[in-house]
Symmetry: C2
Subunit: 387 residues, 2 copies
Amino acid sequence: MSRQKAYVASVGFTQVGDHWNKSLLDLAVEASRGALKGLGGRKVDQVIVGNMFSAVGASQEHLGALVTSALGLHGTPAFKVEAACASGSSAFNVGYNLVRSGAIGSALVVGVEKMRDLEPEEASQALAMAESAEYTQFVGATFAALNGLLARLYMEQEDVTRDELSAMPVLDHANAVTAAHAQFRKAIAPEVVSRSAMIADPLRLFDCAPVGDGAAATLIVNEDALSGSKGGRVEVLGGKIATNEFSVYEREDMLDFKATREAFRGAMAEAGLAPGKLSLVEVHDAFSVVGALSLEAMGFSERGHGSKDVKAGKYSRGGDLPINTFGGLKARGHPVGATGMYQIVEAFLQLTDQAGKNQVEGAKYAATQNIGGVDSTSAVHVFGRGS
Amino acid sequence: MSRQKAYVASVGFTQVGDHWNKSLLDLAVEASRGALKGLGGRKVDQVIVGNMFSAVGASQEHLGALVTSALGLHGTPAFKVEAACASGSSAFNVGYNLVRSGAIGSALVVGVEKMRDLEPEEASQALAMAESAEYTQFVGATFAALNGLLARLYMEQEDVTRDELSAMPVLDHANAVTAAHAQFRKAIAPEVVSRSAMIADPLRLFDCAPVGDGAAATLIVNEDALSGSKGGRVEVLGGKIATNEFSVYEREDMLDFKATREAFRGAMAEAGLAPGKLSLVEVHDAFSVVGALSLEAMGFSERGHGSKDVKAGKYSRGGDLPINTFGGLKARGHPVGATGMYQIVEAFLQLTDQAGKNQVEGAKYAATQNIGGVDSTSAVHVFGRGS
């Protein structure tokens, strides 16, 4: 392959939260228009929409052509990419690979999800579609229940305390206070987590990412298209999707997030970057335990030490390796099919010094890690400040 | 781009019809296993699943990782591609572009849909998700109703008779008689169409593709991977997705299938092939009128002459340009997210002389055309007999 350089030239996004007055399409269009501003009048070659459950949430499929037409870009090739909660970053991965391999010169990728129109039990059922309908759903396990089992195992096997587990939601909320697009901009104490309602023992309400609406978009371009662009200049250095044995109970070692491990390894190898070079990482902490296991799978923390290291401040703003710099899934929010794209947008803001009060000073390299299911799919991307 | 040659090395597929004893996953795995036989022991680089509505049909998303894990291929990157009824060929297009651009060496692409588990009104609602929820669905228009309006316009404006419109279902059923994997292997007379139950005036039951289950898969490889493969050798010469103004009523000329026109033009240009060279075309005739307008958009028939030319025998086996050689959407069947992949499988069978009694003698080049919505998305691929 005659590899081309691929860049994120511009981004667009909505606030995460309740958008009662905007439809799924409205949100996707709003974020896309922001990202298209970087195009400098050129034509975009491809539109890719990342989304998980527009079918059950909005009785809508065919988002590729729908969004493309609403943007006035009809004619342009378009489709939707889905990989449960990793839909956003999987869509990005397709766009990135098409640009870097030279198949196209530019791609608009937008991740969107509208969850708040669903009743809570409907949202729970929609999320459960990330797991096998024939086995996991059949026995009545919700997605939170599976992660609860995982959290219990993690705490028992690795001697993790309730307070250690609470450290990641606390970190997320602290970082979100100054993040304008975050769903919950309020700091919390560890006791807020440990005293919150029990959802799936031992996971409590504040261990779990919230339900919210949102859309986030990027314009990916090659060097040629970048020259005419009006946006920033963040290079996509590497990107990799990996899968795991589908359900957590099928795995020999349930605490080993192999998909994340492999996606991270592959993306860093493609980037030719040592993990120590990273200035920040956006981690998929749909549940506190998932964030901890992700940090371990990527090798930032030793086995069993993910939550402990978060509590010790290693991943806080000003720590060794800042994570979830705008609040992560717990506080920025987790509009499922959009989440991976929010992470990438946030990496872009950091690497173009547009992160405001959330800026990681001198940020040079950033990684994003986005999971579908319980690490059934994981997508990692690595970005570098444009030179 | 340093273009590599891309080949379909092998295919797998199930019969189209009622699969009461097989799940969505079972079907996808069965077709995939067939296609993977061509791999010759190598590792596949990417799995892509084409599917439209597993969410409402099987309460299942995340098909990429699910199918990949069920095949024992966990680790392999995977995701789902969706573009309504063009999901199958859109998934193929992603795999083709990743291989030909050199991003990967091989891709398993499988299209799957399970429709028969749905009640008729649920299936109708699921299909309507190809159209705008906020506008088209909101006013209560079914997908058949929209195509009925289009058929009425076509007949009035272009002086098309009932018998001319019936010619395509008749052709499809004639071709399906000897197609083992077809849903309806029975020839019909034009009167069977014109006397069948009215669905959406003037469209009758036999103008409409049936509801069915099925899965079809291909292994796409580059030249390097082909050398070790055990399958056939069909080159993918070109492929293009295009979109149109989303809904038919937004278009200045509703009878002009611009997405199909552009996708066909683009795919043929990429192939460097004159349309006259094609030995056969698999046409997306979800409704008789849609097949006719597709033939016109691709330039095989003059405006208003699509149905007339079908009736005159131009597209029959033994005619100028055989179409729908295994029965098309009406008789082979239309398991939505799998349909585009069935078309591609059929092109493969023709170009490797494995079409049995449905063989187009000396077939050298074939095209497939697959639509999502009413030409909102169209994907065309062009194939050549391997040399």
